[in-house]
């Protein structure tokens, strides 16, 4: 036994002296505020203080702890009473999903002890070892700089004033005290552990050997399950027509990391089991690692019926292309490519499950509980009603947690063994087996007349959809709808194809193919503008889509098109930046300052498909408003935004609202947290439900439409025309949910499918934006230093400006990673030191400008913003690099090597 102290209390732990402190804290002492994102020192989410020194608990062996004093996030707050650092985090929006927050708080508290009023630079250095994938870091810096002087959080806004206010995250406190339960934070005691046996090859056949012998020979192993043990359909997929992914491969594995079996047993015995000794013989097959391989004549077909490995094709076209090109004074064409990109949320996939009679209850980190339920039911051969999905807190998703990961393993093991089971992926497992951003190869040709007006664009995009369909069809359909950007052309034609390879499945990642196509389109715009002698910003303003003009699919919006404003508002910044870059270049010989701009648009919601959301709201006998919030909050802030909309629609204070999380048994289906749809679509459903509830209450009090509601102890007061009526809640019947009054509201935006030319109205609204980047390139090393990013976004209406800015910062950080450093290579970058994501030092100052175009369809005029924020960043960076060095970098990432190659090709 090793004896030490944790947060002032005596503690002890046994077992191997090489056990890591993070494991001891979480498993033995149940202090799960300390998070684990990598077990390799790379992410810092396990940061704690040992004898006052900040360390990664995952690299501290138990053997070293004798007599030490350990401080964790649980030692920072006094119950729910937050310290000034935590209040400052809440106020500044420094915690989004919250999985990195405990590590950030520990690093910050170590710094503040020595430097109570730190500089920005000191904060960046001191917190530099903790990764965050959500916030883009700047708000964290602001929070720490201001922490020592931070007094009190602002009071909630008065009734009717919640929308538009910087309300702090309603679910923020548990994120700051370390009590928010993410996927692996609350496994039931005694749960068995699941470990998955995976293919070490990109493509292979296999023979599984003596499994019974294996189980018998290993103490603590209780069972092994393989494909034959899947009770229902050994296939899943997010799109009904393309269900093709096995839970366990049957004959052939199609990507590295694909599951073939799982081992279930008691955690102590099997957590260190060497799975390389699992009885299986591999027969490696020649893999197809890019569409060039899998489209080659004679290439093996990965999925029967998908000729030439083509999953789907997409097409959007309008106008007479050849004529429009013929009438152009300048035509430019070029090819671009983007690599596979990993979501790299800090929380790996995790969950736990149990069987209750003929039902299964699965608690899991997910963006889409209802879709999970449908898929698990099919895999298990059960009715959907027999499956309950309870989302845990989600430590970042960005699209990948729309697909099943650990859910089938949990379901199968819990069902067969009738035991509680748990699972958590290691970082390499998470990276090798979950979806990626589609690698793309894009050719684009674009023309304009000598007066700078666009004529035509032709776009052809090849997307590597990997081993299974996942969201490949969605990407292939969304990309051509957006690939021309928010601009007007005489003619447009975009074709896309999604092709299978032996890469991990490509799925949804913030933008569904739009970020890739924007890189090509916005990149070639700069080349065209230069060829025409046009100012690059002017060129975009001239050609910007406006209300009343048709989109690429022929849809015409009469209002809510704020793109031109986004560009125009950048004008003074653009002029200043161009001046400064010229000044800089005059005084530096081996460094060049560049300025780039890019525009973007993004349709909110599914492409031309039904998109419904239903929200239920009730009143409890204690006069609390209960919001059944089915729109999963993965850090973006849905819980807060929905409360704000609900509060204003009811005309009450936000403080009277309680939320019931998105559990498939109790919460109606609000649809997926994807496609930037929740604020717009579920926001409208909340609005509708709130108005209904209000109207029911007013009717009960026989008050007029202008009545005002006030929720107090056990009663609702209705003020109307100088009178007050009390609704006595105690006298009303209580339903199964414990509510006395209930209303539901639904919303499904009106869209149309696309015709054979890809024409139609696929989205009810689009969001728009433009970003400007200033940077310096070192001409000898090819390194890029970002100076500032200015982002203007048409968000319709900012329901919560802090949350919107948080989305913008986070999207920008991911765009920076995409532009400059990220590239996923199966087998080579399956961890967070070979796969690099931006750190504190990589995200520059960000200035945000919110354009409120007041969308006629959005709740209080709001549009979605989640994915929009990433789209323009990478192209703006690439355009700034081109401006600095005079030649384009068209293949991502623009690593120092690539940039240098471009410089030397001049």
């Amino acid at each position: 036994m090793i004896r030490f102290r944790v947060n002032g209390k005596a503690a002890r732990a046994g077992g191997s002296r090489l056990r890591r402190l993070s494991d001891v804290l979480r498993e033995d002492l149940r202090l799960t505020g300390t998070k684990v994102g990598c077990d390799a020192g790379d992410c810092g989410s396990c940061s704690v203080l040992v004898d006052g020194v900040l360390v990664n608990a995952c690299t501290v062996p138990l053997g070293r702890l004798e007599g030490s004093e350990v401080t964790t996030v649980e030692g920072l707050a006094d119950g729910d009473t937050l310290g000034s650092l935590q209040r400052s985090f809440l106020h500044h929006g420094a915690a989004q999903c919250g999985i990195c927050t405990p590590g950030m708080l520990m690093a910050a508290s170590a710094l503040l002890r020595e430097h109570p009023r730190p500089s920005v630079r000191q904060v960046e250095d001191a917190l530099g070892g903790v990764l965050c994938r959500c916030t883009g870091y700047r708000m964290i810096v602001d929070a720490v700089v201001a922490a020592s002087d931070f007094e009190q959080l602002a009071a909630d806004p008065p009734p009717g004033k919640a929308v538009g206010a910087r309300v702090v995250r309603v679910d923020g406190i548990p994120k700051l005290t370390g009590t928010d339960a993410f996927g692996d934070d609350a496994p039931p005691p005694g749960a068995l552990l699941i470990r998955v046996v995976r293919s070490p090859h990109h493509r292979a056949r296999f023979d599984i050997g003596d499994v019974e012998g294996y189980v018998a020979a290993h103490d603590g192993v209780i069972a092994v399950f393989v494909a034959a043990d899947v009770p229902g359909r050994n296939r899943f997929g997010v799109i009904p027509r393309f269900v093709d992914q096995p839970v366990f491969a049957e004959l052939e594995t199609r990507h590295r990391g694909e599951p073939v079996a799982m081992v279930v047993g008691d955690p102590e015995s099997i957590s260190h089991l060497d799975l390389d000794r699992f009885p299986i013989v591999w027969h490696e097959l020649e893999p197809m690692m890019s569409p060039d391989d899998s489209l080659a004549p004679g290439a093996p077909v990965l999925h029967q019926g998908r000729h030439q490995n083509v999953l789907v094709r997409g097409l959007v076209q309008r106008g007479a292309l050849a004529e429009a090109f013929a009438g152009s004074d300048a035509v430019i064409e070029a090819s671009y490519s983007t690599p596979s990109i990993e979501h790299a949320y800090i929380e790996p996939e995790a969950g736990h499950a149990k069987r209750i009679g003929d039902r299964l209850e699965i608690t899991v980190t997910t963006q889409t509980p209802h879709l999970d339920r449908t898929e698990i039911a099919a895999i298990m051969g059960l009715d959907p009603e027999a499956v309950i999905i309870r989302p845990s807190a989600v430590g970042g998703g960005f699209g990948s947690k729309l697909d099943l990961s650990v859910q089938p393993f949990l379901a199968i093991a819990a069902w067969h063994l009738d035991r509680t089971v748990r699972i958590v992926y290691t970082r390499p497992e998470s990276m090798m087996s979950t979806t990626k951003r589609h690698p793309s190869q894009i050719s684009v040709r674009v023309g304009a007349t000598s007066d700078g007006m666009l004529t035509a664009m032709e776009f052809s995009g090849r997307f590597d959809t990997g081993a299974y369909a996942s969201w490949g069809p969605t990407v292939a359909n969304r990309a051509p709808v957006h690939a021309g950007g928010p601009y007007s052309y005489q003619a447009y034609r975009a074709t896309t194809v999604a092709v299978h390879t032996n890469q991990p499945p490509s799925g949804a990642f913030r933008g569904f193919g739009v970020p890739q196509s924007a890189i090509a389109q916005e990149g070639i715009f700069d080349e065209l503008a230069d060829a025409l002698g046009e100012d690059r910003l002017d060129f975009r303003i001239k050609n910007a889509l406006t209300a009343g003009r048709p989109t690429l699919t022929g849809q015409v919006f009469e209002s809510g098109v704020g793109f031109k404003e986004c560009l125009e508002v950048l004008r003074p910044h653009w002029d200043r930046a161009l001046y400064q870059s010229a000044e800089f270049d005059r005084s530096h010989s081996r460094r060049r300052q560049g300025v780039g701009v890019a525009g973007m648009w993004y349709g909110c919601g599914n492409t031309g498909l039904a998109n419904p959301s239903t929200i239920k709201i009730g009143v409890s006998p204690a006069a609390r408003v209960v919001l059944f919030q089915g729109a999963v909050d993965i850090g973006q802030g849905a819980n807060t935004v929905m409360s704000q909309i609900c509060a204003d629609a009811l005309g009450v204070e936000i403080g009277v609202i309680d939320q019931i999380g998105a559990d498939t048994d109790t919460t109606p289906d609000a649809g997926k947290t994807s496609a930037s749809r929740q604020t717009f679509i579920s926001g409208n459903a909340v609005f509708a439900a709130s108005l209904k509830l209000r109207s029911v209450l007013l009717t009960m009090a026989q008050a007029s439409e202008s009545g005002r509601l006030e929720f107090g102890a056990g009663r609702v007061l209705v003020y109307d025309r100088g009178e007050v009526v009390e609704i006595d809640l105690a006298s009303l019947d209580i339903d199964d949910d414990g509510l006395v009054v209930v209303a539901t509201g639904s919303f499904d935006p009106i869209t149309t499918g696309l015709d054979e030319n890809g024409q139609g109205s696929p989205y009810a609204i689009y969001g728009f934006g433009a970003q400007m980047v200033e940077l310096v390139v070192d001409l000898d090393l090819g390194t890029v230093e970002l100076l500032k990013i200015t982002a203007a976004h048409d968000v319709g209406r900012a329901v919560n400006p802090t949350l919107v800015e948080g989305q913008i910062h986070g999207g920008i950080a991911q765009g920076i990673g995409m532009a400059l450093m990220e590239e996923y290579l199966p087998g080579r970058s399956e961890n967070l030191h070979d796969y690099l994501i931006p750190t504190f030092g990589d995200v520059p100052e960000i200035a945000t400008i919110l354009i409120e175009s007041d969308d006629p369809l959005g709740p209080y005029g709001a549009k979605g913003v989640g994915e929009h924020t990433l789209v323009a960043t990478a192209p703006a960076i690439l355009n700034a690099i081109r401006h600095a060095i005079g030649v384009p970098v068209r293949h991502l990432p623009a690593s120092p090597g690539r940039v240098l190659e471009a410089i030397r090709s001049r």
Binding site: G44, V60, R64, E124, G129, D780, L836, F840, D842
Partner: protein
């Protein structure tokens, strides 16, 4: 697995003599990662954190157990510069120079400095007592050293020389927590110049031709500085991997060497 917590060097080497396959554990930032990811299961471990001698440092001798956060304030300028770029505050609080030498990764940020200053690695064993192994004999390949199975590293020892100037720099793909794609140290020692590089060969290396070319020049001209960079780029032996290409590493090595030389000259 057994775990020995050594109190002094004598205890550590005695334990090691008994268990030749034992692993030393210093800060654990390399060893624990290997253990966590299950590709490494040491039979026995000898903990070194309580060996006071290893914590000592002065102008010519740096104990193996000195952590990077202390080295950030080291009197040796280039070592301090290197220390500031290692990992994160968490890694620097735990990781040691001895562990960096023990791991002997081509990307180890302390190693180019050791090579540039012609330092020796002091090792100790029960059988042979203490000896100093010249760095060039100590590092023999990618993560391979000539340390014998019964030996431990006790210190990095500097020769008694007058260092006029020393500068470190590295290039990587992001700004913090980044593994070097190239690292470089240039030093002016007496009237001569030294240049050493990391991540461009299986071991840290010196670019001797570049050094010799310069050593004839008292105050190198811009042309000589450019030639120095060219020679460095010609001498390195990098590879292409997922972090960078052979061509880029070669080029960047020359650029860094030239820049650091200029800094040495102006200091």
């Amino acid at each position: 697995m057994d775990f020995v917590r050594a109190k002094d060097v004598a205890e550590a080497i005695a334990a090691k003599a008994e268990r030749p396959d034992a692993e030393f554990l210093a800060g654990g930032t390399d060893l624990m990662v290997a253990v966590n990811l299950d590709d490494h299961r040491p039979q026995s471990v000898i903990g070194l954190r309580h060996v006071a001698e290893l914590q000592q440092m002065d102008d010519t001798r740096i104990g193996a157990g000195v952590t990077w956060d202390r080295l950030e304030r080291a009197p040796q300028r280039a070592l301090a510069q290197a220390a500031r770029t290692v990992g994160s505050p968490q890694i620097r609080a735990a990781g040691t120079i001895g562990g960096n030498v023990g791991t002997a990764s081509p990307a180890g940020d302390g190693l180019a400095w050791i090579a540039a200053l012609d330092a020796g690695i002091e090792v100790a064993s029960v059988e042979r007592g203490r000896r100093i192994v010249p760095w060039a004999e100590f590092f023999v390949g990618v993560k391979r050293t000539s340390l014998a199975a019964d030996e431990m590293i006790t210190a990095v020892v500097l020769p008694d020389e007058q260092i006029e100037a020393q500068e470190f720099a590295k290039v990587g793909s992001r700004n913090t927590m980044v593994i070097s794609t190239v690292s470089c140290v240039v030093a002016r020692v007496g009237s001569g110049y030294r240049v050493a590089l990391g991540s461009v060969a299986p071991t840290p290396m010196r670019a001797f031709q570049a050094e010799e070319m310069l050593n004839d020049e008292t105050s190198p001209s811009p042309a000589a500085i450019a030639e120095f960079g060219r020679l460095v780029a010609a001498e390195v032996r990098p590879i292409t991997d997922h972090r960078s290409t052979e061509a880029y590493r070669r080029h960047a090595a020359g650029v860094l060497a030239g820049r650091l030389l200029e800094r040495c000259l102006s200091s």
